[in-house]
Amino acid sequence: MSFPWAKHYEPKQPLMRWLDEKLPLPRLVYNSIGAGYPVPRNLNYWWNFGVLAGVALVCQIITGVVLAMHYAPNALVAFGSTEHIMRDVNGGWFLRYAHANGASMFLFVVYVHIARGLYYGSYKAPREMVWLLGVVIFLLMMATAFMGYVLPWGQMSFWGAQVITGFFSAIPGVGETIRVWLLGGFAPDNAALNRFFSLHYLLPFVIAGVIILHIWALHIPGSNNPTGVDVKGEQDTVPFHPYYTAKDGVGVGAFFLVFALLVFFAPNLLGHPDNYIEANPLSTPAHIVPEWYFLPFYAILKSFTFNFLWIPAKLWGVLAMFGSILLLFFLPWLDSSPVRSASYRPKYRVFLGVLLLDVLVLGYVGGAEPIARNVIMGQIASMYYFAHFLIILPWISRSERPLPLPTSITEAVLAKHGETAHAEPALAH
């Protein structure tokens, strides 16, 4: 499960020795995120974002558990109890703003984490399972974030629930039955709100469980690195602690700085004012959009405005939206290039940049009015999104000529500092 030169856990105090014999939990931590886990020595700051996602999840669970002490999941009083938290509960405004903006922070660092994986080929063999579990975590996060957004029972909450559960009504034949089953009624109401609260409380712990599997699967081959070259020997790695605990500490500091800026200076920047109006089943907000982190997928949903191949536009939109995420499950096999890091893949690097731009365009379209210009822009951007994964990526992974790879991580690191691998014999044993 780890490299042969990994440090061994040797408890010194009698108490720790006793504990190690009865329940080797400290040993597990030591080997997972302590000095017992050797990590490539050349990780850059993009490798902070996995730890940051973990930090964000912990923040969400802590603030969420205390918010649940004051919130009432009943359609008659849910909106009022949210306002009660904001106005009456001691420091309640801080807890709720931290939880709402914490969701944005969580999704943001996860998006960076995914982009890191895409750039450095972290999804490729032997780390396919790490990637697959990551996509599962992402799907769980989306479900959790959606259900959490419904809880304040504002206008955006209500209509978000209406639209998102409406996706299921697109399924031929049984769709409407499934939608009614999910909601426990014909429109979002108390039954839906209660079950969303129950699941919103449950899913973060499921996410935590899948994260453990994600890290377990990662520790079998060990971490990827910016060169994408495999670890060849001890000189290529450093122990996770103290080297990367310290480096991650810097990232955690920056994370909380941005988080604090949002919570204390712009707590409603990423929200919608309509959600401070209580849910009204008779009036749809003039401009209904999901939270920023769902906008690219929402744009793909909106892009299908015509029936095609006997499948109605609505079903196409829903299929494409779910497809855009499920496609990620196949990524390790769509990209057949043996080179992992995009630093050595001149063509892939360009197309990945275009994809990033494309997702930003989708994000813009997702939040924009459905006028003709935006719809066409969304349609082109959606097509490109699918083309990237289904056509461009399989094609360039076969045709491109990668740049010469360094023979080892150590060589790459020393070359960067103008030295050769032989200049430091102390490390190369």
Binding site: V163, A187, T284, P312, P370
Partner: protein, 194 residues
Amino acid sequence: MATVEEAIPPGANPTRYHEEGHDPRRRDFINIAAVAWAGVGAGVIVLPLINQMNPSADVLAQATTDVDLSKIAPGQAIKTIFRKQPLFVRNLTPAEIAEADAVPVSSLRDPQTLEQRTKPGKKNWLITLGVCTHLGCVPLGAGEGENRGPFGGYFCPCHGSAYDTAARIRQGPAPLNLHVPDYTFTSDTTVKVG
């Protein structure tokens, strides 16, 4: 498949088992039957867990809505509630009726005439659910001064579905016309929906 040897309990005299011809398949059968029955039990216990999510009795209780039409002038529409969903009641003007009738039915995504969507002799009373058939938003157009979209009926602001004066889908992602619920005229000016 277990052998005779495996079927012999530890400490028992093996010759007895061989001589008496104990059939190891009998133990396999009991094993499979027990596990299968436990599986059936697990499957059955899932049913109430799934069923509890279906609409409860109070939600299902059949509600009807009475609508007084006398206050709705031609060209006006009202929004009311039917089974917790918005209901649009519109008094069409002769111009709107003519506009709806002028559309060739074969050109429609969900082909229906205005006659099929109204009651005989009450062609001006268009009663539909105010639920967009795309993803369930409430279309605009029933309220005073709301955007009625390019076809003069209803316009859904969520994803740009446009309905005509007969509330038929004409443009945008929605697959069907606005749903016409069951209703009857209890008098010339009142309607019972549901």
